[in-house]
């Protein structure tokens, strides 16, 4: 049975799209059949980060509106053959999505894939609520700073009230993914600590992605970091997070490109 995962945050620029691509690729590298779906209609980026921008013919809006069939819109990754992308439309806006249309697309994707990962737009409006609407689980991407944490808290409230699962009285599975974490700055008190973030959000931790230039470089070359530089600290953190999503027990640590010391200093177990 497929699992529908929404990657969301409330705040923009915290790393939703990067994390969607990295987690999607990491799961696919582990042999899972994965579809990553861009819900950011009008401001699509996932195609760029996945390096598929020159292969987009049909998109999510076309499928929702019945202009194209799902297999026509899905783009297969050239590097990992179990990884697929359903791009968003850049020329339309979020009103082009209907709840029924999205429900049908998600249902169809569930039949074909092990994982359906929805990249939510920022905000709490239509695009974001539709991206989370049919999810079984959510990854809430948070930077260790107060505005991002408060927005994440808002999103958790919506996940617990506005999703189909919540309306049926079931609980949606939630995970916090802390991105752009800088151990040195946190140690100097210039950033919220992991403990602060988890205490405020009272939600389990999926992983800690260190701030890294490698992440930016990967986005610019159009490749998920777990594919382009699998040995980097950020890629190792995403690979660990993907294993935890699959249900494996992986000790929590902040991988570092610097040699060993920070691993020892800031190593920690999952909350």
């Amino acid at each position: 049975m497929a699992k529908v995962l929404v990657v969301t945050s409330g705040k923009g620029g915290v790393g939703k799209t990067t994390s969607t691509a990295a987690l999607g690729a990491a799961l696919a590298q582990a042999g899972q059949k994965v579809a990553v779906v861009d819900f950011d209609v009008g401001l699509r980026n996932l195609d760029l980060v996945m390096g598929a921008e020159r292969r987009v013919v049909f998109d999510l809006v076309n499928v929702v509106q019945g202009i194209a069939k799902l297999p026509q819109a899905l783009i297969r990754d050239k590097r990992v053959e179990t990884l697929w992308l359903l791009p968003a439309s850049q020329t339309r806006d979020k009103d082009a999505l209907t709840e029924q249309g999205v429900a049908d697309v998600i249902k169809e994707l569930r039949r074909q894939f092990d994982w359906v990962i929805c990249d939510s737009p920022a905000g709490i409006e239509r695009g974001a609520t539709l991206a989370m609407r049919f999810a079984d689980a959510a990854v809430i991407v948070t930077n260790p700073e107060v505005s991002s944490v408060r927005d994440s808290d808002r999103i958790i409230g919506l996940l617990d009230s506005k999703t189909e699962k919540a309306e049926k009285g079931q609980r949606i599975e939630k995970h916090i993914l802390i991105t752009r974490y800088d151990a040195q700055r946190a140690a100097r008190g210039e950033m919220l600590t992991i403990e602060d973030v988890l205490e405020i959000l009272s939600t389990p931790l999926l992983g800690i992605i260190p701030e890294s230039e490698e992440v930016l470089r990967a986005s610019n070359v159009g490749s998920p970091i777990t594919l382009s530089n699998a040995g980097s600290a950020a890629a190792r953190a995403y690979l660990d997070a993907a294993r935890r999503l699959k249900g494996d027990t992986v000790p929590m640590s902040v991988p570092s490109d610097r040699k060993g010391l920070f691993d020892k200093l800031f190593g920690r177990r999952a909350a």
Partner: protein, 230 residues
């Protein structure tokens, strides 16, 4: 969060022009029963009245000075309404124990005692989950107890007291229906704003030594006081 409808008994006052004369008669009557309206919800019946918005507003102010709190209007025309006025109520039904101004009820009757004691719904709300940013819990009927934390940007409005066993980072407004004895308790005070019966204090106005520790707030002769609990 659950919302429930519930009906309550309210007294209905029907003002008649000229208003100064009507208010004088009301004063004369309340001299005999000074506490009759205290703490009771009162509805203003405006059916067939010709008062305009400003007259209604003045009347509500004049009644407020007499301790008569108007919670709603009945029978008002749309042009008589204004967002600053109490809300329009519909679907009211006459109740058996109507009091008329001509015959104030005898306080000594034992009507209540002869009825079997009714089982009272517990007037408190228990919330087991954390209250997330942007969520608002409004419970005018009594106390609110939160087992988790109240996030920055969340708010609780309670008619009675508020108890937060996690960190209070949002707003807490206790005694919203006029209970000056309501209090706010939290095991970690990071509140953005606390208020009791409308008297409030923002985070900036709080003593820094009261932050990040267990605290309680109460109303001390119209001054909102905050003290550490540890």
């Amino acid at each position: 969060m659950r919302f429930r409808g519930r009906s309550f008994m309210a007294f209905v006052l029907t003002p008649a022009p000229p208003l100064p004369g009507w208010l004088a008669e009301l004063d004369k009557w309340t001299r005999n029963s000074p506490d009759f309206f205290v703490g009771r919800p009162i509805i203003l019946d405006l059916a067939n009245s010709a008062f305009d918005q400003s007259e209604i507003s003045e009347l509500i102010t004049a009644l407020g000075k007499r301790g008569i709190r108007i919670i709603g209007l009945e029978g008002a025309r749309p042009d008589q309404l204004d967002p600053s006025l109490p809300p329009l109520l519909k679907g009211g039904r006459p109740a058996a124990d109507d009091a008329t101004l001509a015959a104030p009820p005898d306080q000594g009757t034992t009507a209540a005692a002869s009825q079997p004691p009714q089982r009272q719904e517990p007037s408190s709300l228990l919330i087991e989950n954390p209250i997330r940013s942007g969520q608002s819990v409004i419970f005018p009927h009594g106390d609110v107890t939160v087992l988790g934390s109240v996030a920055s940007g969340a708010e609780i409005v309670a008619g009675g007291s508020i108890h937060v066993y996690g960190a209070l980072r949002g707003r807490a407004m206790a005694g919203s229906t006029g209970d000056t004895r309501a209090r706010i308790f939290c095991s970690k005070n990071e509140a953005e704003l606390v208020s009791i019966d409308g008297y409030y204090r923002t985070a900036e106005e709080m003593d820094a030594t009261l932050r990040s520790r267990p605290a309680q707030c109460w109303l001390n002769d119209r001054v909102l006081s905050i003290a550490a609990l540890d």
